[in-house]
Amino acid sequence: MGLRGTAAIAGIAEWKPQRRPPGPYQFSTEQWAELAKAALDDAGIDPREVDGICTGGLRESATFVPSTVAEYLGIPVNFAEFVDLGGATGAGMVWRAAAAIELGAASVVLCVTPSMPIPPAPGGRAQNSGLGASSGLWGSPQAEFDIPFGNVAQNAGYAMIAQRYAHEYGYDPRALAKIAVDQRTNACATPDAIFHGQPITIEDVLNSPMIADPLHLLEIVMPASGGAAVVVAAADIAKRGKNRPVWINGFGERLAFKTPTYAEDLMRTPIGPAANRAFEMADVKPADVDMVSIYDCYTITVLMTLEDAGFCEKGQGARFITEHDLTYRGDFPCNTHGGQLSFGQAGLAGGMSHVCDGARQIMRRAGDAQVRDCDTAFVSGNGGIMSEQVALVLRGD
């Protein structure tokens, strides 16, 4: 069942995340084209070989997104996916691309997440709703049953998950803070990270303002702007490319709710079944991986992913984090680019940054943050509020 591992990530491109990019800005289609060209150049693949695309939403085009992209690029395709999985979009694109390639539906698939601002519209800006991932439109369950109580955007939802976790399993704030600290160490070895050159301590995290109990400011991802692109190619094309092919050997995807209030079991996140499926498909065990790149919108997300994906027992995440060095030079390298907490969360490109992190390590291009002999990576994506999750197992030859 599943992938045979004959499609590979052949090229990647990322824009350095920025808090307030100075501009001038480009439209999403223009960003798409720039990122696509950069990733294809990185792979050594001619744009005319592209026959598939995976795209998320475009700021200036709400519907008919894939055909808008194909037309703009001037590249007709045989496979076009509009992927709407929030932070899991990047990882979700990559397995869809691999599946399409293994089916013979396409041979080179562009997966692109432009996440820079676009030029302001003449006559004023569209107003941000301030509702984050929540839909305030009439008839949306969130508009009717969640938003009116202030359960809006992400902080409150993740905070309530963390509070329940504390109730059931106990809570070690220092262990949670250590996730952010170790990742910051990784960012300090990654020049493109938004917090490069700014190390922090556990005390810094615990002394940062409490935003929503028990989440401190430095445990919460900071929104940024940027962009990322990944080229997935069939084996023959990947093998003649510039990079060591990063084979996509396993994937899993799971989603069951939008708002965690309605999760059947809030303490068993969807990454559990997704990771199990990915490991089984790849015939890899958690202990076999050389590095992990785990979606880290909040520190609690990392802790619960480590548990539910099988890197440690349920309820033992804090101990695992305390006993292991999560830096690139440690015994359990995690988020070697700094994670989104320290690399930066540039919209959908934030989720894709974990794919790039894993691929870069297997390509042996992580520079000062390179993990020795890195051949196997586990990557997770997480959209909404632990709502939609994707796991990937990536391997080098």
Binding site: G130, L131, G132, G136, W138, G139, P141, A143, E144, F145, D146, I147, P148, F149, G150, N151, V152, A153, N155, A156, A159, M160, I161, Q163, R164, H167, P209, M210, I211, A212, D213, T259, P260, T261, Y262, L266
Partner: protein
């Protein structure tokens, strides 16, 4: 500062909101599945059974989880911090998103017994919760 958004009932959910306005908590129930359902739907989640009916419940429950939001979750709540956002598990089983009232932030505990509080806001009545008398 934008107004706090209020629910706009739909044809499916109207009985729930009508119930709250009358100080009654109505939940949907599927007899064939012996399943209580929240939020209101046209079919039972999971089985898609078409036998949902409205039944009145006490509205009593326990705090399943909560947070004290020290910073507003959205601009409309800028004047309302700290926000006491919670998930309450009703005695019948369903969980709902709500806010806690008549309680100090430091006194909130997971597992705490709570009772319904009917808050009229404009044309609708919101279901909030306060500590039960015996809590």
């Amino acid at each position: 500062m934008p107004d706090r958004p209020l629910p706009q009932p739909t044809p499916t959910s109207q009985p729930f909101w009508d119930g709250l306005r009358a100080r009654r908590v109505l939940l949907q129930y599927s007899p064939s599945q012996d399943q209580w359902v929240y939020y209101p739907r046209n079919r039972a989640p999971g089985t898609l059974a078409g036998d949902l009916e409205w039944r009145e419940v006490s509205g009593n429950g326990t705090v399943y989880t909560f947070t004290v939001a020290r910073r507003p979750t959205a601009p409309a709540w800028a004047e309302d911090v700290p926000q006491l956002i919670a998930v309450v598990e009703l005695d019948e089983g369903p969980r709902l998103t709500t806010e806690l009232v008549d309680v100090e932030p430091d006194a909130i505990r997971i597992g705490m017994r709570v009772r319904p509080v009917f808050s009229d806001e404009g044309d609708v009545t919101l279901l909030r919760f306060a500590p039960a008398a015996d809590a």
